[in-house]
């Protein structure tokens, strides 16, 4: 990766090419969820649509995810500032909060199920399972990146390098993205039940 970094040095980029690539990937993911939510709208307008309350636990999970995002941001700032302990601890906290989000989403599914909304029933319920499920897959992707970050933080010697900084920055950007994506989905589901 050092070699890759050197390859980029010759150009005067305002943005790191890998970060640029991540932005394109995020645009692509946005298109996918855009397709899901437009399919939702098209299907809802066709009638035979069961209306029900969203489980309130989804709002709790949202807050947990927002905090996780904020904590990771602070962790990144601490890393850049060279505050080793703070950076490590906050990274771990953010990771745990990410896991907690997934657990809460699962609780949300159970609440839905107990409410009589199962995957196989009316499409209005199926859509919620699909949207939350596929969003959860994207969260797992972010958590995987954080696992790598944690391994580096706790097993390697603390050093501020360009390579680690960009990798951390990429993880952070993606984590903010899946966070915002969930907020979008929640608002969407809340408004257009």
């Amino acid at each position: 990766m050092e070699a890759v970094a050197s390859r980029y040095n010759r150009t005067t980029n305002k943005i790191h090419p890998l970060k640029f690539a991540l932005w394109i990937a995020m645009a692509s993911i946005t298109m996918m969820f855009g397709a899901f939510t437009s399919a939702y709208i098209v299907r809802r307008s066709a009638g035979n649509w069961l209306e029900f309350e969203l489980p309130s636990i989804f709002f709790v999970s949202t807050i947990v995810l927002l905090i996780s995002s904020l904590v990771l941001h602070t962790s990144f700032k601490s890393y850049v500032a060279g505050k080793e302990a703070r950076y490590k601890n906050l990274l771990l906290v953010s990771f745990v909060l990410g896991i907690a989000f997934l657990v809460l989403q699962y609780q949300g599914w159970i609440a839905l199920f107990n409410n009589g909304i199962d995957l196989k029933g009316n499409p209005s319920g199926s859509f919620i399972y699909v949207l939350t499920g596929i969003h959860a897959l994207h969260i797992i992707g972010g958590l995987a990146a954080m696992v790598v970050g944690l391994l580096i933080a706790y097993t390697r010697k603390f050093k501020i390098t360009e390579k680690r900084k960009i990798n951390f920055d990429l993880t952070l950007t993606y984590w903010h993205f899946v966070d915002l994506l969930w907020v979008y989905l929640l608002i969407f589901l809340y408004i257009s039940r």
């Binding site: 390859r7 010759r10 150009t11 090419p17 397709a35 399919a39 035979n48 995957l119 009316n122 699909v130």
Partner: protein
């Protein structure tokens, strides 16, 4: 006043070029050391391009051979096909009493489905844009490699894996998926709907999902490289049209393929988990299924939101290649460079708002159809701009009629013929008669299939020296061109007439219908033409592999006397493409026939006179 530009290429790159200290780092050299890492798990864009090309050719052969089998069935439905038994085994049904072999109708559908899937995705998406984006983006922009060589390698191997899964599905005892390449539910959603809808469809979905991953990884890389790794002086408006085409293709792919994936996800849920996104009120063998409330139209919307941009993902790279080849071999600057770029952008934009013209007869609201008719017909405008610019590029040119040029001109011919029938089909009223007939088959095969193949051939013949350091045989190449050109029209021209008479596509045989009996000889003619054209492609494959060792050697760096950067690298370009500095760029890619010079490469600095003119503008 004519002013002959004199320059020494190596000296120019040495003096004007950009020193990025690339070779001091030995970067990437470690994955160049062993055979496995140099040629198989390679991260060098030039090797990956060749991997895409050869895999694409393999699939083109399979997909083409499939079309021969179903063409035989359509041309000669009453013949004995027992001789095909060694090739496709029990898909030939044998009549014990008479010894007659007939093609299993179920397998006929599987062949049609696989032919479409393979050609559209594996050959014309991965084989075309995968090959030439990889080869040309770094070389024509003056980059050492792609932005992420590792993702680039992954992109190829996901494609390879997707191919393995699809290939495996051909050998299932229940056969591959057989519900058409568009995989409309309910045939694709209910495993019990047909024999290919079970395991065959599952593998089809897995394969295409892997394929989309490959396209996305590739596309992210292409866009990032084009926008971030251009050499000094290579502004966007100095890029060759090939690069513009690849850039826009990648953007379209990144925005449309994820939508296909979301459609696939919902399909997977319907198949495996019992949801009813696409299914409602279905009876299979008299038995009501408990799917309620879904709509197959929803799938069609999601599918065609990719499906329509997909045809531009196929045709735009071919357009880019053709623009470059026409200009080089006509020894003239491309006519209307900026108009070409803007029309690429216009086509890309419009491609996203016309998808429902594939669904005029699916029960979408006729008033909404009007909207899609208008935008569909507007696509004719940028398309016509491009066609006129190609023709005016040829006008008065000092044309070299070699094989790449012939294929490029053939592309223009095919694009016009196929494009004109698109104007018929874009009208929702005419579509009432034309939909699902051979007219549609003729239209999209000429404008998308044959035209894109011609663009690909033009590219292969033109950049073959860049890939293998040798030339392909010209005589065989010209033979290949003329047989393919005349043969392709012989195959698809008659289909227009058959289609206008209302003969539906995807039928197993027509001799049972009184109305279609008159077309028996025409169908035989088409089949014979198809066999001849396929034979010509075998000629091409032989030429391709024979020339790698026996073709005429490339002796100069720039055999076509082109202006672009890829011809300034050593003949056998190693990792990093340029040995010393990266060349820097001083002018656009189309300075042919300027001020008495036959051509001026992009690396040559502007003369004082040119500088004065630049200021003047």
């Amino acid at each position: 006043m004519a002013e002959i530009v004199k320059y020494n290429e190596e000296e120019l790159i040495e003096k004007q070029g950009f020193d990025d200290h690339f070779h001091e780092h030995h970067e990437g050299d470690k994955y160049q050391t062993s055979f496995i890492f140099k040629y198989i798990f390679s991260m060098d864009h030039k090797i990956i391009a060749r991997q895409f090309l050869i895999t694409g050719m393999f699939w083109a052969f399979i997909g083409g051979a499939m079309s021969l089998i179903f063409r035989l069935q359509l041309g000669f439905p009453a013949e004995n096909f027992a001789w095909l038994k060694p090739l496709i085994g029990r898909w030939i049904l044998m009549d014990e009493a008479t010894g007659m072999g007939t093609l299993d109708p179920q397998f006929y559908y599987a062949l049609v489905t696989m032919h479409g899937t393979i050609i559209v995705f594996f050959v014309l998406t991965a084989g075309l844009s995968g090959t030439f984006s990889n080869l040309l983006i770094p070389l024509q922009l003056g980059a050492r490699d792609m932005a992420s060589p590792f993702l680039n390698m992954l992109s190829y191997w996901f494609f390879f894996l997707s191919g393995v899964v699809m290939f495996y599905s051909l050998f299932l005892s229940t056969g591959p998926f057989s519900g058409g390449w568009t995989a409309y539910p309910p045939l694709s959603a209910l495993p019990q709907a047909s024999s290919g809808s079970g395991a065959g469809m599952t593998l089809w979905l897995v394969s295409l999902t892997l394929f989309v991953v490959s396209v996305l990884l590739g596309g992210i890389n292409y866009i990032t490289t084009v926008l971030n790794l251009r050499t000094k002086g290579m502004t966007l408006w100095r890029m060759p049209l090939t690069i513009w085409a690849f850039l826009v293709t990648a953007i379209i792919g990144l925005l449309s393929f994820p939508v296909l994936v979301s459609g696939f996800f919902l399909l997977m849920f319907d198949r495996g988990l019992g949801t009813s996104f696409y299914l409602s009120d279905i009876f299979v063998q008299g038995q009501a299924l408990d799917f309620v409330g879904g709509s197959p139209i929803l799938y069609q919307h999601l599918f065609w939101f990719l499906g329509h941009p997909e045809v531009y993902i196929i045709i735009l790279p071919a357009m880019g290649i053709v623009s470059e080849v026409l200009s080089v071999h006509a020894r003239k600057p491309i006519f209307g460079y900026k108009a070409m770029v803007y029309s690429i952008l216009a086509i890309a934009f419009l491609s996203f708002i016309v998808w429902a013209h594939h669904m005029f007869m699916s029960g979408v609201n006729p008033f909404i159809s009007n909207f899609f008719v208008i935008f569909t017909l507007i696509i004719a405008v940028p398309s016509a701009v491009k066609v006129f610019n190609w023709i005016t590029t040829l006008w008065g040119g000092n044309i070299r009629l070699n094989t790449p040029m012939l294929f490029a001109i053939g592309f223009v011919s095919m694009f016009i013929s196929g494009g004109l029938t698109g104007i018929f089909l874009g009208n929702s009223a005419i579509d009432i008669q034309m939909h699902d007939t051979y007219f549609v088959v003729a239209h999209f095969h000429i404008v998308m299939g044959v035209a894109a193949m011609f663009g690909m051939f033009a590219g292969i013949y033109h950049w073959y020296p860049k890939m293998f350091g040798r030339f392909m045989n010209e005589t065989l190449g010209k033979l290949h061109f003329w047989i393919t050109m005349i043969g392709a029209y012989a195959i698809f021209w008659p289909m227009h007439y058959i289609g206008m008479a209302g003969v539906p596509r995807r039928y197993y045989r027509f001799d049972g219908f009184e109305a279609f009996g008159q077309f028996t000889t025409m169908n035989q003619f088409i089949t014979i033409a198809a066999i001849i054209v396929f034979a010509a492609q075998v000629l091409f494959i032989i030429n391709f592999f024979w020339s790698q060792n026996k073709g005429r050697k490339q002796t100069t760096k720039n055999p076509w006397e082109a202006t672009t950067l890829e011809w300034t690298t050593p003949i056998e370009a190693g990792h990093g493409n340029w040995e010393g500095n990266i060349p820097s760029v001083h002018r656009w890619a189309y300075d042919y026939g300027k001020d008495g010079n036959d051509f001026i490469p992009q690396i040559v600095p502007l003369s004082d006179k040119e500088k004065a003119e630049e200021l003047h503008h």
